[in-house]
């Protein structure tokens, strides 16, 4: 591998790559994101490899082939995109491969059964960019993901990689900070703190050693945008960190990645090593006088380590407990040195902001929240996956236009944003623009960008209980409000969902929420009240139904529901009786079956196996 020692050499190298690239070469791009791999994209890739080899040998047809990061439309994996025709095939199996090559690569035909079909309008669309899921997106952070092979630095360079760095190294470090400030970029990890200001405060602290860190400990349940970036475009994160380090004068950087993300660790490790070999990391980067290197640290499966001070303790090889907030990490961070910690998505925006300029970036988004944001749109929605849109899109547009509406034609009830620190926003507020400040105003928060769609079958008390249970398990135990307050809240929520709720429970919950908000040590505790407060605020009638009527309107809380077989729908196929672990379903073949409620454990197996939708929950 050629080491690059000057800006001129970098551009010459890039020109050589461009010259040897055949843009018209039909190319098969197979998604190797975690979702598609789980759905079998490795087998599909293998089938393509064989088919392409055969075609090359037999008929001399040249076909390009690459595996890419996550295309975002994970619901429909394995995804296969074709260039230059831009056709996107969904749910591709190895048996479809030879047909795709015959029809869509050697000829200009489309394999109809593999293209997108709108669940609502039944319209079919072959072109990637015309599918509603993609049509309304603006991909800045995800600019390369799905287009490049994450294991190839050449592919990154072909897509303008390290151009931001080359420009940055010719700039005055303070001017870089000013540019980031002017872009209006705010921390994508949840807090929304202005990135440029953070850098400037860190630089203002006198010290001979500084650090930059990347927070890849994406712990919010229901969010996987950072995973996708680290897996699908690792060099963009590395490039952002080098620029940040140069701007504040750091020579060492750390990426803290969740251990649950093995592919992200692997791709980042490989990218760092190639970047080092080519002179983007190490001594005298691109022939400048700037030295910088990056180490990866794997997290240990503790949610609290996503909190900045806990993350730094964990990086130092200690137990990841947070410390009080009055000590700022820009002054005393890692090893008590001035440090900048940014999230994966924040870092990966930096190179394009520097290259295209602050004004370009600030042209997207709203007054207070510039640029775009990646969301993981999941839950009870038709099109699930990763989407990137300008800040300020309304909840309604996100769920309906991009998400294709609620799954199974059910009634939309709420979206949950911000993970365990966020809240639930009801349907009545679906014209709300999604940006940092609007979400906070309604009692939720941006968080890292998880948007979980909930429908009429979602019990909001159960959702509150779910998050509090999550936080009880993840609380590090250092401060009393969090350690002891959360279990008290969980006890009350358990009682309510089990039909033991009583008058005054809601008020007690609200009081405990106050204690946490004002008394907890770190962000995990101070924001822990949001899931409870927001559900009480918008869905109090559901709490009342549980407490006073001993009913769960959504049919979720086990102690308050019964399973029943619908006489008219049951065909007497005996399947449920055979599968019931309690053996409490009886009935003759071809006769209506019945469930013995006294022995039923509400495990849901009968409902799951019934082919006639005859098992109902009441």
């Amino acid at each position: 591998m050629e080491a690059i020692r000057s800006f001129e050499q970098l551009e010459q190298y890039r020109e050589r790559l461009k010259a040897s690239e055949n843009k018209d070469l039909p190319t098969v791009m197979i998604c190797f994101g975690t979702g598609c791999q789980a759905n079998g994209s490795r087998d599909v890739a293998e089938a393509f490899r064989k088919e392409i080899e055969n075609q090359g040998l037999k008929v001399g047809v040249q076909i390009g082939f690459k595996t890419t990061g996550c295309h975002g439309y994970c619901e429909n994996g394995p995804l296969v995109a074709l260039r230059p025709s831009d056709i996107l095939y969904l749910r591709v199996a190895p048996k479809d491969v030879s047909e795709i090559v015959e029809k869509s690569i050697k000829k200009d035909e489309v394999v109809d059964r593999l293209i997108y079909k709108d669940v609502n309008t039944k319209e079919t669309i072959a072109q990637y960019k015309s599918i509603p899921f993609y049509k309304f997106q603006k991909r800045i952070s995800l600019r390369n993901i799905g287009n490049i092979d994450p294991t190839s630095i050449d592919d990154y360079l072909l897509h303008d990689g390290y151009k931001g760095l080359a420009k940055a190294l010719t700039m005055d470090p303070d001017a870089i900070i000013s540019e980031v400030e002017a872009s209006g970029l705010r921390g994508r990890g949840g807090g929304g703190f202005p990135t440029g200001s953070k850098w400037r405060s860190c630089k203002a602290v006198p010290s001979d050693v500084r650090y930059v860190m990347c927070n890849g400990d994406e712990g919010d349940p229901g969010a996987f945008m950072d995973r996708s970036i680290m897996e699908g475009d690792p060099h963009s994160v590395i490039e952002g960190m080098i620029i940040g380090a140069y701007a504040i004068g750091a020579h060492m950087g750390y990426i803290y990645v969740r251990d649950e993300y093995p592919l992200a660790v692997k791709n980042l490790q490989a990218a760092i090593s190639t970047a080092r070999d080519m002179g983007f990391l190490g001594k005298k980067i691109l022939g400048s006088n700037f030295d910088f290197d990056i180490k990866i640290s794997r997290g240990g499966g503790a949610f609290v380590c996503g909190e900045s001070s806990a993350l730094m303790r964990s990086l130092e090889g200690k137990v990841g407990e947070p410390r009080a907030k009055y000590i700022r990490s820009v002054e005393k961070g890692l090893y008590d040195k001035p440090s900048v910690l940014n999230n994966v998505e924040t870092w990966n925006n930096v190179p394009v902001i520097i290259f295209n300029g602050a004004n370009w970036y600030a042209g997207f988004g709203t007054k207070g929240s510039k640029g775009t944001k990646v969301f993981s749109l999941v839950g009870k929605v038709n099109n699930t996956g990763l989407v990137e849109v300008p800040m300020g899109i309304t909840i309604k547009d996100l769920v309906e236009k991009i998400g294709g509406g609620v799954l199974g034609g059910k009634e939309f009830k709420a979206v949950q944003t911000g993970g365990p620190s966020g809240g639930c926003i009801p349907k009545a507020l679906s014209d709300l623009p999604i940006d940092f400040d609007s979400l906070t105003e309604v009692g939720s928060m941006m968080g890292s960008g998880g948007i979980i769609v909930m429908d009429e079958d979602t019990c909001m008390v159960d959702v509150a209980k779910y998050f509090i249970h999550f936080l009880v398990e993840e609380s590090c135990g250092k401060c009393t409000p969090c350690r002891d307050g959360l279990p008290r809240m969980l006890n009350i929520l358990n009682a309510i969902t089990e039909g033991r709720g009583k008058e005054g429970d809601i008020e007690t919950l609200q009081e405990l929420c106050d204690v946490l908000t004002y008394g907890a040590l770190c962000g995990l505790g101070t924001s822990a009240a949001n899931p409870v407060l927001s559900t009480i605020r918008y869905f109090k009638e559901e709490y009342d139904a549980h407490i006073h009527d001993r009913k769960c309107p959504a049919g979720v809380c086990k102690e308050l529901i019964t399973y029943r077989i619908d006489k008219d729908a049951c065909t007497g196929c005996t399947l449920c009786a055979k599968k019931c672990p309690q053996e409490c379903i009886s009935g003759e073949r071809k006769q209506v079956h019945t469930i013995d409620e006294s022995r039923c454990i509400r495990c849901g197996v009968c409902k799951d196996v019934c082919n006639f939708n005859a098992v109902k929950i009441e």
Partner: protein
């Protein structure tokens, strides 16, 4: 016994001998032995000059580490929000019922350890179960044993 010690030393030698590498070394112990052996913690304490109590604290703090031997296969049930909404609770219960042990425990034959995890980041295929490194999406309580039996 000697073999274990050799492996322990081999893992330690992969990293710089500083406290910073402690978590990575413990994670490698976990991968190699399916738990963090006491001998390993003692050895680390000697080599890195870190008190044993601190290493023990790490072992109990981080969920990825276990001080008890785990089963041959780890069955992780994702408890992320998207999975929760789509019924991961019933899936976890089905696994507990079928294997006869509760979460964070290992079957008597040492074949499976059941774990509940907070979001594996594969929300689009929820509910998700991960067996060792293999992801299974759109899980249903009735399908779980077909999958687990593949690992026997």
């Amino acid at each position: 016994m000697a073999l274990t010690m050799k492996k322990i030393d081999a893992i330690i030698s992969r990293y710089e001998k500083s406290e910073e590498s402690l978590l990575a070394m413990l994670q490698d112990f976990q991968r190699e032995f399916h738990y963090v052996p006491e001998k390993g913690m003692k050895r680390l304490s000697e080599i890195l000059s870190v008190p044993e109590s601190k290493i023990y604290a790490m072992g109990t703090f981080y969920k990825a580490l276990s001080l008890e031997p785990r089963g041959k296969h780890t069955v992780k049930v994702c408890m992320g929000t998207a999975c929760h909404l789509k019924g991961s609770g019933q899936i976890l219960e089905a696994i507990e019922r079928e294997l006869g042990v509760k979460r964070n425990h290992t079957t008597v034959d040492k074949l499976y350890t059941i774990e509940s995890v907070n979001c594996v980041g594969a929300c689009a295929m929820s509910p998700v179960v991960v067996v060792d490194e293999d992801y299974y999406g759109h899980m249903r309580p009735s399908k779980i044993m077909d999958i687990l039996n593949k690992y026997k």
